[in-house]
Symmetry: C2
């Protein structure tokens, strides 16, 4: 396995990256010499990847597997209550301060296990074993841990540094194509908002059928991690320049929540990026060519460019208003702080932060006009406010 | 108000200390220029201190008051569920990243509000307005925030630095004497385990009726804070030398939980210190005179030296075994890591930490022999293992 060290201000941790490397994963976990290993996973990943890991690790210590109800799309289970229940059961099973929490799964599992590890005994060791592209190439390169509240995603959480990340791109071959595309959307996000190299890489590599070989996946994962590193090295809490990674997330998070599991996180972010690009173009900041590249990359990835049928624009806009970027800037109730681009890789800044206040009415109009199919467009009389 | 700056490694915050200084408290809160103030309190403190503060602060911004069910003895409500419910309701009321959480109450309120502030938006500003002696002279001088699990106290939490502490010793005159004695127990703990100056101060000042004038209270509060500062300046997470502040807490926490609200935290810690002193004496580490000073100071404070009737030693020992210091050391299932003293102000060390592994059987025997009245002693046949 290849080692990539991530440096986020004073925090650093290694990502070990390889293909078909269960032995390497087990060896590195065993070397932590834990009193017990607590593998947190979900129902989809448990039989595929968590169970084999648990069996191999059992030769090196006490191992327990905890399966969270619902699969990777289970944002609904990403609650403080889930964290509390896991903590109770782990403690009953003998977890102590020298235990290690191992998150085997995608971003949802990583977030639940991450917040749990941060809180249990005020912090036990945390190892991420990501099994989705989005987790491997994006989520694990962050100190942010969080769960959802009913009014929005990731509103409760903290910053916590994992001990290491063990990433086997071989796991990605078991993913349904829709999940690979979801991960690619975050890489596309970094390509549009941060890193020109990634644009070149993606324009060559993206394919709608989402069938990639291992070498390509390793390149994509590394590109994703290094894009995160580039801004987080000076902004580990992602409250300054690294807020640019929230590109597409204001509208995207809201759509994801309103769609109640019907679309993936990445698909939702893609829709959020389209909204942000259309808004930036309407306001005269972004060129038509840059805006159109959004559609091209997203289409080349095989990802929808409109919301699923049945998602109400009113529900989306209500969730947009509760977005957790609110409060970074002094915003009126009818303004939404969003990441907007002035050019590819160049966010617009307000008070040094890559955020722009946008009228909620313009967001509503843009979603209605560009993210809803003709037949699904909301009746105007039921519209905004 | 007098300013005392606390320095815990790279973290620092001011404690403003005064008497009858509501105006000073309001001015300092107003200067934070929050989008909204969220005063967290409990049913006992709400009418006495929180409501007047809310009314005075309302001239300076949007203020909401959130009253937690149960009073200061309500450890049962110090759960992750309470934190989650508060977060949901605050968000619905418009809380954002520029809001301030104001904890008006004792240690329980401070812990719930502290963890909430740490988690909401991954951290909003936190101000402690302590209304008990234990909170004012001890709890607020810590970065530790936590809630309970069913198997023990403070097992879920994190480290979070408050923006400031605003302490009015005038609030302490409304406390029932049992609460003043409870706070004094933590000061006694610091006197026995850390600070010789505090022993001198306490031997002169302690009185069983718990009636103290404001000037004495200010001296006691300052002494408590400075004892914390002394060790935490090099150990902000309290996992090294500052673990000495856990003196009396291994057995104490367990008794507090087993007694289900019948005794105060401080009373429970006093009992835990007696257990620790008896154990250290039995093991030949502590002199009889130093052990006896434990009884003398606790008695001079008017605090019981045996457990309340009806608390089962078996229940206590079962909770002792789940104590959250487990895991600092390699301990067998029948060993308990405890803070023991070799002399006043001098903890015994293991691997550099002020912890000693003690046989659970000896802990059981000590509690049975010294903390239970003759008529309440457990039948031996129902005893340990």
């Amino acid at each position: 396995m290849r080692r990539i060290d991530l440096h986020f201000e004073d925090q650093t941790y290694p990502v070990w990256l390889g293909q078909r490397c269960l032995d390497g994963i087990v060896d590195r976990l065993a070397a932590l010499d834990a009193t017990s290993y607590h593998v947190v996973t979900d129902q989809e990943v448990a039989p595929l990847h968590a169970q084999p890991l648990v069996e191999a690790l059992a030769a090196h210590g006490m191992v327990r597997m905890w399966t969270i109800a619902g699969g990777e799309s289970g944002e609904g289970g990403k609650t403080l209550a889930t964290v509390g229940t896991l903590a109770e059961t782990m403690l009953t099973a003998g977890a102590d301060r020298r235990s290690v929490v191992v998150a085997v799964g995608g971003g949802v599992v990583g977030n639940i296990a991450g917040l749990l590890a941060a809180l249990l005994f005020r912090g036990v060791r945390l190892v991420h074993v990501p099994t989705t592209l989005i987790a491997m190439g994006d989520s694990v390169a962050s100190l942010k841990q969080a769960v959802n509240l009913s009014r929005g995603k990731n509103l409760l959480g903290c910053f916590y540094t994992p001990t290491m990340v063990l990433a086997d791109v071989g796991y990605l071959h078991t993913l349904p194509p829709v999940q690979v595309r979801s991960g690619m959307c975050e890489i596309i996000k970094n390509a549009l908002a941060v890193s020109a190299e990634n644009r070149t890489l993606l324009e060559g590599a993206l394919r709608p059928d989402a069938r990639y070989d291992g070498a390509t996946l390793e390149r994509v994962v590394e590109a994703g991690l290094l894009a995160k590193q580039r801004l987080m090295v000076n902004d580990r809490t992602e409250r300054g320049t690294a807020l640019v990674f929230e590109y597409g997330h204001t509208v995207g998070h809201a759509i994801e929540l309103a769609a109640e599991g019907v679309i993936t996180h990445g698909e939702a972010v893609a829709l959020g990026m389209i909204a942000a690009a259309e808004i930036a173009w309407k306001l005269g900041h972004l060129s038509a060519a840059a805006r159109d590249l959004h559609y091209q990359l997203i289409a080349r990835n095989g990802t929808p460019t409109i919301m699923p049928a049945g998602v109400a624009v009113e529900a989306v806009i209500s969730l947009v208003r509760a977005d957790n970027k609110r409060g970074y800037l002094e915003a009126h109730a009818d303004q939404v702080p969003m990441v907007l681009l002035r050019d590819l890789g160049e966010p617009m800044l307000t008070d040094g932060r890559p955020l722009t206040l946008v009228d909620a009415a313009l967001v509503f109009e843009t979603i209605s006009m560009h993210l809803v199919s003709e037949t699904q467009a909301p009746r105007r009389e039921a519209g905004f406010r």
